[in-house]
Structure formats: structure tokens, C-alpha cells
């Protein structure tokens, strides 16, 4: 099993246990790119069955979100601010504890993030730039997850958890993120998406 499979299984076991059985295959298919990746994602041009696409499998969408901001996350994981993974994880935990669990009621509104200068209750004081880097990575990932189709609460929860996982093994995580973006998307699928964009169905796209 390659790194994408390992990480996909790891993510699935924590966040989407219902999809854990085939998580490794999903990860490898995503990393393979092309049509194998395209088939993991909803596509309304596909002839539906009696029950339509029947709700998404979440794992491919999580992988898509991670791949979508892979560069940002890799930069974050490789930055001096998180050189000490433990410190970064600690910061993340502090950030999480300092935020109400379901803060914004309106999912269309951007998440309210405390100013980096503002101290987080119960958390040790940290350098402002470290805290800012963690916050930025969190916000980027959460917004990407929301854009992928997750609701605000789920995106919030996933963003924290995924960052925790990535920070737990930054070197392997960087390789994993690389694997998600190494292979290109399916050209035909891209073309279909472009066509839809032309016809004003932008909202269906990720």
C-alpha cells in the first residue's frame, strides 16, 4: 500500500469510519489521478440510478480538499513556525479550545477567528506569528472543505482534526500531500466541468 492509501485509511478511520473498508483503494485511486480520481467524485453527467448519486462518500471529498490546498498545507508543515510539531499541535488545540464549538450559525458567513493578539483562555501565550500560521492553515482548510460541500460544522471539525493528523507526522504528511497532487485530473472531467461553468452551473463545481 502506498502513502496515499495509508493516509486515506488513517483519515477514514478517524473521520469517516463507514468508509474505512475501501479507504486504501480510495486513496490510491485518488493519487492515480485521471479517470480513476474523477470517478470518486460526484458527476451529474453520469446516468443516475434509481437513487441518484445517493449522497457523497466523504473520504474522496476530504482528499480533494487536501489536494486543493496541498501547497498551502505543505508550506505550513514545512514552515519554521511548526518546526516543532508538538508546539504546533499544542497551538491548534489551544485554538480549538478557544473557539465556541459551532460558532457561526450562518454557514455562508466567514468563520470568526480571534485576533492573534488576543490571548486564548487557558492556553499558554505563544508567539503571534506561530499562532497566525496555524490559524491561516486552519481557515484555508476549513474554507476548502466548505467549498467542497461540507457544511460549516463538519468542515470545522474536519479542519481541526486533519491538521492534527498532519502535524502528528509532518514528513509523511508532506509526502502524502505531494502524492495527492502528483497526477493530473481527468481531462475529460475537467472539460465537462468547464462546459458547465460556461453554462452557468458554477455552483455545482468544486
Amino acid at each position: 500500500m502506498d502513502v496515499a492509501g495509508v493516509w486515506a485509511e488513517r483519515i477514514a478511520r478517524r473521520f469517516t469510519p463507514a468508509e474505512a473498508s475501501f479507504a486504501a483503494e480510495v486513496g490510491m485511486a485518488y493519487a492515480a489521478g485521471g479517470s480513476r480520481r474523477a470517478e470518486l467524485l460526484p458527476d451529474h453527467s453520469v446516468q443516475p440510478g434509481a437513487f441518484g448519486p445517493g449522497g457523497w462518500a466523504e473520504l474522496p471529498m476530504i482528499l480533494q480538499a487536501l489536494a486543493g490546498i496541498g501547497g498551502v498545507l505543505k508550506a505550513f508543515l514545512g514552515s519554521p513556525q511548526v518546526a516543532n510539531a508538538l508546539a504546533a499541535a499544542s497551538l491548534l488545540t489551544a485554538l480549538r479550545q478557544g473557539r465556541p464549538p459551532e460558532s457561526p450559525q450562518d454557514p455562508r458567513q466567514p468563520a470568526e477567528v480571534r485576533s492573534s493578539a488576543e490571548p486564548v483562555d487557558g492556553a499558554p501565550a505563544q508567539a503571534g506569528n506561530e499562532r497566525q500560521a496555524v490559524e491561516q492553515a486552519f481557515l484555508a482548510l476549513r474554507e476548502r472543505l466548505k467549498a467542497t460541500g461540507f457544511d460549516h460544522v463538519r468542515a470545522d471539525e474536519l479542519a481541526y482534526g486533519l491538521l492534527e493528523e498532519l502535524l502528528s507526522d509532518t514528513a509523511s504528511a508532506a509526502v502524502f500531500l505531494d502524492s495527492l497532487t502528483a497526477a493530473p485530473d481527468d481531462k475529460a472531467a475537467q472539460s465537462r466541468k468547464a462546459n458547465r461553468r460556461i453554462f452557468g452551473r458554477r455552483k455545482d463545481l468544486r
Binding site: 480513476r36 458527476d43 443516475p48 440510478g49 437513487f51 441518484g52 457523497w56 462518500a57 455545482d204
Partner: protein
Amino acid sequence: MTGGTGPDLRGGAGQLMPPWLWVWLIGDLAVLIPGQISDERYQFAEYTGHGDIPGRLTAGIPYKLLFVFGIIAALTYVILAAGAVAALFPHLRGRWVERRFRLAGDDRDVIAEMQDFVGQYDPSIQLRVAVSGQQLARIYPVGWRKARIAVFLPLLALWYRDRRAAQAVLLHEIAHRRHGDQFVVGLGSPFTWLIRVWVPAFLLLVLTPIVVYAALGGGLLAQAVSGQGALELLRPAELLILPVVALWLAEFNADEFATHVAGPDALRHALEAGRATEAPIAARALTLLSHPPRRLRLRCATPRPAATAALLAAWPAALIAQLGLLIAGAFIAYLLIGQKLPDIGTDLLAGTRQFLTGNRILLITAVILLLGWPVLARPWDRLWSPRRSSAPYQPWRPYLAAAAVPVALLAVSFAPLSASYTGQSQAQDACAQLAAWNHSGGMDAKLRADSAAGQAYQAMTSPQDPAVAARTLESAAASALRDPPPGAARDSYVTAMTDLGAFARDVLAGRTAPAGTELANGLTSDEKASSLLAEQIRNCSVPVQVPSPAVTATPMPSTAPAPGSAQLTAAQLKARLLTRADLSGYAPTSPPGNFPSYSDKPACVVTLNDLSSASAPSAEVTQATAAFTAGPDGPWVEEVARSYPGQDAAKAFAAAVKTLAGCGTFTLGRTAVAGTESVRPLGSVNLGRQSWSAAIATQTSIPVTETLILAQEGSSLVALQVASAAGLPPAGQIRSIAAQAIALLIR
């Protein structure tokens, strides 16, 4: 029920619905499509000038558009037939589906659990897994009695999140298999794919030529052509009603099985699961071609006796919807060709009767299936699935109630409704016979005989041996006699061919004296026959009601246009005027515009001036003029061609004739009397729909004589005036010019 207590197959195990998909497939392939092909062939012959409509009429763009529409509509049959034929190769489809979706067997726990569940209801069904997130689960055939279910990632997730909903999904697919639907529906179904692709393609193919035609300034289609176009454009919708309803009912049937076994809530949850990914409107609209709307399925998920009876009656009721669409299309078409409302009513009743009569076999099949289904359901189930159903028989009552619909339709088909269309009786039958005679080569045989007679006559009057020509004539006349035309021309025709044959035999026998008499008699009769035939052909170039084949879904009459029935634009008129090439020895000229305005009979002067006017009498009328001269003293030929809306051409013709016929001699001048003019009516010259001619003499400083010919055909009116100060051409020549003008105008 399920989920640990084992399967419950009570109450019919999903065989609620008769196999309407199969009924449609067999009925369409065996009966309907062959009938439609015959109908389309007839239409194509019409649109290309090989039918009853003269080629000069079908050469225009409106008929070319009709031809294109006809081709596109006919492609619907091809698509339906291709989808149905493709359903007959389940092995190939199974192999293709597994390669296309990368389906593979798997023994992981979740798959094993699902397989155990499926095995309780149909142990012959195997599961295959696709690492794909685009669907839930779909049945597909891998042989005539083997099927598999493709399981996708979302179903694996649903299996953990909502086990009963996931089971409902699988039960739905199992029900398809046990109903024999998997050949037509399911994963990789060529039939549903073709329908989904064809509907938007049809719209594009139809709209594109219309838009291009309009963009090029083609104007409105001729009324009658529009009528036929409306029928053509609605035909695919009529054709799709039955298969789409059959597909919907197959889904309802599968839902019923899932509801029966897993409960209505499980099916509701399964249907709700799809809401997470709301598709775009276009995708949802296309989905409706193969699946009923989710809301309707949610409503039907709660079993109710009345709803069950309604679902059972839906298939025969679809025939009523098809008839409704047919009537709507025909109604529009009749309105477009300007038919009167009472006549439309009569024709629609006749069409309804023809439709119901043509669908009797289908109705009888529906009655038998509905009444027998409580018993037939088990053997049908066993046909596809090795598992024996232990379910009790279905209750009879809903089936009896549903059977009332086809029984009622069947009864109406035997009702004494009028079977003939308006004006179809004698005149239309005569035209149909004439068309049939023409199609069978009757006219060709006559032309060959005429040609042979001409050659024989030439041979008789020249030094060459007439025997060869006489043999040819004898053979041609005998051939023509074998297939005489129907109607008024028949007697003259038979006499002519008999005499010409006798002439040929006399020539061969060297009997010169009787040969001359027989040739003269033959040619006289032949001329009469030709004249009568021309009259018949002209009269029959109105829409011909040719009965459709016995079994057809589109029994409404053809609405092919009458020649020249649509109003022409000024540009079209101009293009159809006489040209220099039509008038040997004449050169184009500009007619004078200084008309007399003073007269003791002003109406006569106004009418004559109007027939020479350079401009149309009103904005609704289009006009084009041409004038030629053979010399300074004439003859001058002036053609004024006008095209009127609706029936106004006939009215204008009648008004002009009425005025001019009563003119006699009258004075004329510009401000005072400068001379006299007289109009002497000469009557019809047998041109167009109606014609009238007059000899006109003007006595002023230079006497001028003139022949005026007025002719009306369809929306067009031609005034041809041939005038001269030095003597007119022969009357026959003037008539020929007028005939040419009319022929050009209605081409």
C-alpha cells in the same frame, strides 16, 4: 421483516406490475415501428417530390425543412429500435459494464454482509464493487438468467450509517432483476442512455434549422408546411410517452418490492439520501426520462389500495396521454392549414377512432395481463430468478379496477365514430387512386405511348419504314391499356390507346386507309384524355388524405400544402416572374405610368389601372411586375403578379372579373374624354384554379387592342396583358405565355 429476522416475501414479492417494458418492447419492435417506417416512407416521398405533391412545389426550402424534420423524427424510431436491439445482448453488456466501471468481486466484511442479504432474496445475484463515488448500486445483466449488482462507495457508507436504507436500495435492484427489467434498465443500459442522449440532440437538431432559416430571412413557413411540421415535431414526444411510462412503472414496481420487504421508511431514507447532491435542472429533467420524480416516489412509498390501482392503470392510461398529444398536434396542424373548426372536429374524431382501432392489440394485451397478473406474476418471477416465490397471489380487486381503463378504450374503439376524414370521401379517394396510378407507373406508360404515337406518325409521313415505330407503339399502347387511369379520363384514355394500338397493327399489316382514321381518332381521344388527366392532377394537388397503415401511432392525416397556398413575399414573386428567356423576341421594358383617370365608368378604369399598377393595392398584398416589348408598336407583354393573404386572391379575382365583365364600352381620358375603351369578356382559359380573359380595344389617337388574362391559383393572382398597336399574337400564343406565368408562380 429484515435485518436479522430473514426475508419476508409476503404479498407478491415485488411482482405488482405486469412487465409493461416487455409489452412495449415487443409491441414496438414487432408492430409499431414497421408501421411507422411505412408511414415515414410515404412522407419522405411526398417531401421529395416523389409523391402526390409536384416536384416543383417540393423544391422550396419549406419542404426541405419538412424533409429534415421528417428525418430527425424518423431517427427517434432508429434510436428506440437500437436501444431495444441492444437489450438483447446481455453478455456483451455485462462484460462492457465491468470493464468500464472497473467492477470486481471482493470478500471484505461489508461486501460479505451485503451478499448475504442479497442472497436471501435471490442467491443467483452476485455483487461487484466499484471504487467510485458516483452512484449507489445498479443492477446489470451478464446473461439471460444471470445478473449482478454493482455496488459503489456511497452505498458502503450508507450500509454503516443507515442499514435499512441501504437494504432498500439493494432490494430495489433485486426487484428489477426479478421483474426482468435489467435488460432494459440498470447500469450501462443502452436503451436509457440513448433516450437521454437523443432528447437534447433532437431539440438541437430541430431548433438549429429553424433558427438558421429564420436568421436567413426565410420568413414564416408556409401555413400548410407549418402544419405538417407541427405533426413531425410532436411525433418523438408521442413515441417516447409509452417507453418512459413503462420505465417509470418498472421503478415503481421495484420500489414496491423494497417497501414491502424493508418498509416504507427504509425506502424514504434511501430516496432522501440522494438529496445531498441536488443535480442541475437539466440533469434532473433528463433523469425524468428514465425515473419518476423523487417526490412522487416518496408519496407512493406508502402503499394505498387506490394508489396501487392507479399505478396498475397507468400503462393503458399512457395510451390516452399519447392520444391527447396526437390530438393536440393534429389540432394545431389543422388550424395552421386553415381548416374549419367543425371539420377539425370531424377529422379528430376519425383520427381518434383510427388510433384506438390501431391499438386494439395493445389494449387487449393490457386487459389480459391485468386480469391475469395475480396468477401470472409467479411464473414471470420464476422466468428470471431461480428462487421460487412463496408469496400468495395478489388481490384481484386493484387489477379489476385498473383493467377498466383498457376495457373502456377498447369499447370506444368499437363505437360508431366517423371513420372518414373531411372531404376524404369520393374526391379524396379519387385523388388517392390517381396518386396510386401515377406511382405504379401509369403516367409513364401513357407518356411512352404518346411518344411512340408521335414517332409512328412521323414514320408514316417520311420515307422511313414505319414498322419499327409501329411495333413500339403497339407494345406501348398495350402496356398503357393494362393500367388505365381512374376517374373522368379513363374512357378517353382507353379509347385512345385502343385506337393507337389498332393503328399500329394496321400499319404492320399494311392497311394504310384504316390506319389513318384510327390514328386521327386515337390522337383526338388521347388529347382529350390528356386534358382530363391534367385537370384531375390539378384538382388533386390539394392535400390528399391517404389512410395510414392499419397499425400506427400517428393516424392523423397528412397536411401537405396546396400548391401556392402560402402568401409569397415580393422577392419571391419577383423571382417567379416571366423572364426574357421565356419570351423569345421580346426585350424588357418599363410600362408607362400615366393612367387615365376620367371615365363615365370610373370603376372600370380604376380596375384596369389597378391591374397595371406598379404598386400593390394594399400593404397586405405583395406584388411584382415585369414588362416586355417586341417592338415600338408592340406587342407588349405586361405581367402583374400578386400574392394575397388567406383567401383574398380568390376574392380579388372575383371582384375584378365582376367589374370588368359589366364594363362594355366606356369613355376615358385624363381630365376629359379622350377616347373610348371596350371590354369584351372571353371567359375562362383553363389556367390555374380559375381564370378569365377579355378582349380590350382602346379607341384613342392610336387604336390599341389587348388581350387580358386573369388567373388565380392559391394565394396568387396574375394579370397578363398582351397589347399591340400593330396586331396581337395568336390567341394560343398569348395563352401559352399566361400558362407559363402561372406555372412559374406556383412552382
